[in-house]
């Protein structure tokens, strides 16, 4: 089905008038005799005629934009763009243009004769903008066309299939991820073809060079600063600062935070270097029981030093060596650096879209310097709120005395909670639950849950006792849960509940993921299905994945959109060579990543979701492959 984009009739009218006036004058002066054709040759054409846009709806979804470009005219690749009615930009998949060397315009990529762009499916009308020039003549302002909403039917009805479509089941020997070939390939069941989307880093570099890349990634970092990836770092840094005790001014707080943040950013850029060197995402490789366990021990040590300085009365020798890790006077900066470094690598191993973009960019181009620099900038951006906290938070901390001791105690527990959380990744689930129970008992006792109140006790003491009792009660519940085989700290007694066969639960459609851990398993699942597929990379240690499970998979709209599709969870919790192979084959750098394949196993361009998408993003991607 072809659609002509509507012309802006006003514009045409204005131009038509102007030239009619010219023509009349020519007649008046008599110079024009038999020369009317001169205009047609030399006068620049209306841009909508010079670049004739047709829009088709290919069977694989989305829209295919085609420009027929008049001779002597060209279209810029970089200035092709599309956005939805509410202003969200839509990725366009375009082919390589012709490099046009222009002494005053540098090298630009342009299209002669014709140009094509593939656009992912989008709800509602979309706006397409393009810009080009008449060779050695004029350059047009950007032209924006409004394309009407694409009805679902037109995008997947069989009658819309282009005549030249090759039959399914032909040559499928081509390996996945060959750039630009996805459309022409035929794919047999059980294999998959990945879309070749231009990475965000490459795009930024093409548009504005290295400066733009670094600034852009710094900005991405800022945007990510309050996501679950960075949140664990706030209590860690706060604890570090609280451990400083009295007399710490804003300057020292800022300096310590700066060391922490630079170490965190360095760790991120190290990820880039290691990825270039080994092809692996270090964050994921470091999710080994050994590394996670070691960091858990560090946090226990930190917590003990928080307690020990005043309450646990550890031997002096212990104290000195432990505080070296971050809470004493000496070696504090070193401690901050170690904490920043490990925080980034092990505490919040988050694969976000910018991180994935930079790692893939390095993998594809080998440009380690720019990739690592971008990751460093990303880390600095993520660290801005931490710096602010360091500079201003230090002033808020109490100077000394009983208050300070309590603050330290609180952070001591925060560190213990970190340790328990980390340990939960490597011990059996029930043991993890038992750890939380133990921690809560400790907290309850320290808060004064077992202290005796008397008639003279003030409100503060009573509140503390109440809080302590709540902690002890929770500990009892968790302990009971652990003993009965529960594994979720938020629902400790789930193991005790009798499975409900009743109607209340039946209404809740839960997504049923088929879990795979290796490429052969994935191919087996794909081969046994002729429905569109979603592959969801996840892992127990992936913090963001938990958020996705709560916010996205439980969303009714997402569940409806995914019904009838094959939904696969690629589980990377026990990371091994098979997991790495799975990541490599699907061109992913880690969880969470969602990949959408159509019924023929082809990834639709612009649909891949990395990081923490909202339900509407998932629904949009699903639409593109259905």
């Amino acid at each position: 089905m072809k659609r002509r984009a509507p012309y802006s009739s006003l514009y045409r009218h204005a131009i038509g008038e102007a030239f009619r006036t010219l023509a009349m004058l020519l007649l008046l002066t008599g110079v024009a005799a038999a020369q009317e054709t001169v205009f047609a040759q030399g006068e620049p054409m209306d841009p909508r005629e010079a670049f004739e846009l047709t829009v088709t709806a290919p069977p694989e979804g989305g829209r295919l934009l085609r420009w027929k470009i008049a001779e002597g005219y060209y279209l810029y690749r970089d200035y092709l763009s599309a956005k939805t009615a509410d202003g969200a930009s839509l990725p366009l998949e375009t082919d390589q243009g012709v490099a046009k060397e222009d002494p005053t315009f540098g090298t630009v990529e342009v299209y002669y004769d014709s140009a094509e762009a593939r656009m992912p499916a989008a709800a509602g009308p979309v706006q397409v903008t393009y810009q080009g020039c008449q060779e050695d003549g004029i350059c047009y302002p950007p032209v924006t066309e409004e394309l009407p909403a694409l009805s679902q039917a037109s995008s997947w009805s069989a009658t819309n299939a282009p005549a030249g479509e090759p039959p399914v089941g032909g040559d499928a020997s081509a390996p996945p991820a060959e750039p630009g070939e996805a459309d022409a390939e035929t794919v047999k069941a059980g294999t998959f073809t990945l879309a070749d989307d231009a990475g965000m880093l490459g795009g930024l570099r093409d548009r504005g060079g290295a400066t733009r890349v670094l600034l852009g990634f710094f900005g991405f970092g800022l945007l990510l600063a309050f996501t679950p990836c960075v949140l664990p770092m706030f209590p860690i840094l706060a604890g570090l600062l609280a451990g400083q005790g009295e007399g710490m001014g804003a300057r020292r707080g800022f300096a310590l935070s700066a060391v922490y943040v630079v170490a965190m950013a360095s760790a991120l850029s190290l990820l880039g270097i290691v990825a270039a060197w080994s092809g692996q995402n270090l964050q994921i490789v470091l999710q080994s029981p050994w590394a996670v366990g070691a960091v858990a021990v560090i946090f226990v040590a930190l917590a003990l030093s928080m307690f020990g300085l005043y309450d646990l009365r550890l031997p002096e020798a212990w104290n000195a060596s432990l505080s070296g890790a971050g809470s004493g006077r000496r070696g504090t900066f070193g401690g901050a650096a170690v904490l920043g470094f490990t925080s980034a690598l092990i505490m919040g191993p988050c694969v976000t879209a910018p991180l994935a973009g930079a790692l893939l960019y390095i993998a594809q181009t080998g440009d380690v310097a720019l990739g690592a620099g971008a990751l460093f900038a990303l880390g600095l951006g993520q660290g801005v709120p931490l710096l602010a906290m360091g500079a201003f938070g230090a002033r808020v901390l109490p100077r000394a005395g009983a208050w300070m001791d309590r603050v330290k105690l609180v952070f001591g527990f925060a560190f213990l909670a970190m340790a328990a959380w980390l340990a939960g990744r490597i011990v059996p689930p029930a043991a993890g639950l038992a750890l939380w129970a133990a921690l809560l008992v400790l907290a309850g006792v320290f808060a004064g849950g077992l202290d005796r109140l008397d008639a003279a006790s003030g409100a503060g003491a009573r509140m503390r006792k109440a809080a302590g009792l709540v902690a002890l009660l929770s500990a009892a519940l968790l302990g009971l849960g652990a003993a009965s085989g529960g594994d979720d700290p938020l629902r400790p007694l789930a193991g005790l509940r009798v499975p409900a066969g009743g109607s209340a639960e039946a209404g809740q459609t839960e997504l049923v993921f088929t879990t795979v851990t290796t490429v052969p398993e994935l191919e087996a699942v794909l081969g046994g299905s002729d429905a569109p597929t979603m592959i969801y990379f996840t892992a127990d240690w992936c913090v963001t994945c938990r958020v996705i499970e709560r916010r996205v998979w439980s969303d009714r709209g997402v569940q409806e959109a995914l019904s009838g599709m094959t939904v696969i969870a690629a589980d990377l919790s026990d990371f091994d060579a098979g997991s790495q192979n799975l990541l490599d084959q699907l061109n992913s750098v880690g969880p969470p990543t969602m990949i959408f394949l159509d019924a023929r196993g082809r990834e639709a361009a612009g649909t891949r979701l990395v990081g923490e998408p909202g339900p509407e993003d998932v629904i949009a991607s699903v639409r593109a492959v259905r």
Partner: protein, 208 residues
């Protein structure tokens, strides 16, 4: 070249015929056009002047600091204007290549308040390649201009300069200009790039 010459001859003849009536003749379409006079286009009081402000012929170019043909032919244009000595040159900013073009225009107009428009304009027209903020700043600094001063000067007269840029765009649309560059020599309209010969012919036509 014959084709081009014929076209210019044609437009030149047209210019002679149309000079009395002015630009209104080119733009008799719709209500907005009625407001547009020859004075508005050629003698916008806010637009900086180059060349000889007292010149007998006014040459207007609608341009963009990133438009390849505007920049490629700019040295030719300035040479022709200088050699003639009696041409008032009006460079009308019509930024069509996005944010960097707008910023370049703003800084150059800011320079006008500091009597440095000619330097800023020439510097930016002499830049190579696509522009971004860093390149623009670098080029201007290299030319001895202080970008912060230019920015402040633009901000000071923000309404005036933004109004001028908006007016230029409106005029381009009413005149039916399709893009940059577009020239008005005297009262004749020449869309597209012009080489030296074409410029001299157009000037000659405007004088005759």
């Amino acid at each position: 070249m014959t084709r081009l010459n014929r076209r210019h001859l044609l437009l030149g003849g047209l210019a002679t015929a149309g000079s009395a009536a002015g630009l209104l003749l080119f733009s008799r379409n719709g209500a907005t056009a009625q407001d547009l006079t020859r004075e508005d286009v050629l003698f916008d009081p806010d637009n900086p002047e180059l060349g000889n402000p007292e010149g007998d012929v006014t040459l207007v170019e609608f341009f963009d600091y990133q438009c390849p043909y505007c920049k490629a032919n700019h040295p030719i244009l300035t040479d022709v204007v200088a050699a003639d000595g009696n041409i008032r040159l009006v460079m009308k900013d019509w930024p069509i290549f996005g944010a960097p073009s707008v910023r370049a225009a703003q800084l150059a107009l800011g320079a006008a308040s500091l009597d440095a428009y000619e330097t800023a304009n020439a510097t930016l027209m002499a830049t190579e390649g696509r522009l971004d903020d860093a390149l623009i700043d670098e080029a201007l600094e290299d030319a001895g201009l202080d970008v912060a001063d230019l920015q402040a000067a633009y901000q000071n007269d923000r309404n005036k300069w933004d109004g001028l840029i908006a007016r230029n765009g409106r005029q381009a649309s009413i005149l039916g200009l399709r893009g940059t560059p577009a020239f008005i020599v005297g009262t004749a309209l020449y869309p597209g790039a012009m080489d030296g010969e074409a410029l001299r012919e157009a000037i000659e036509m405007a004088r005759s």
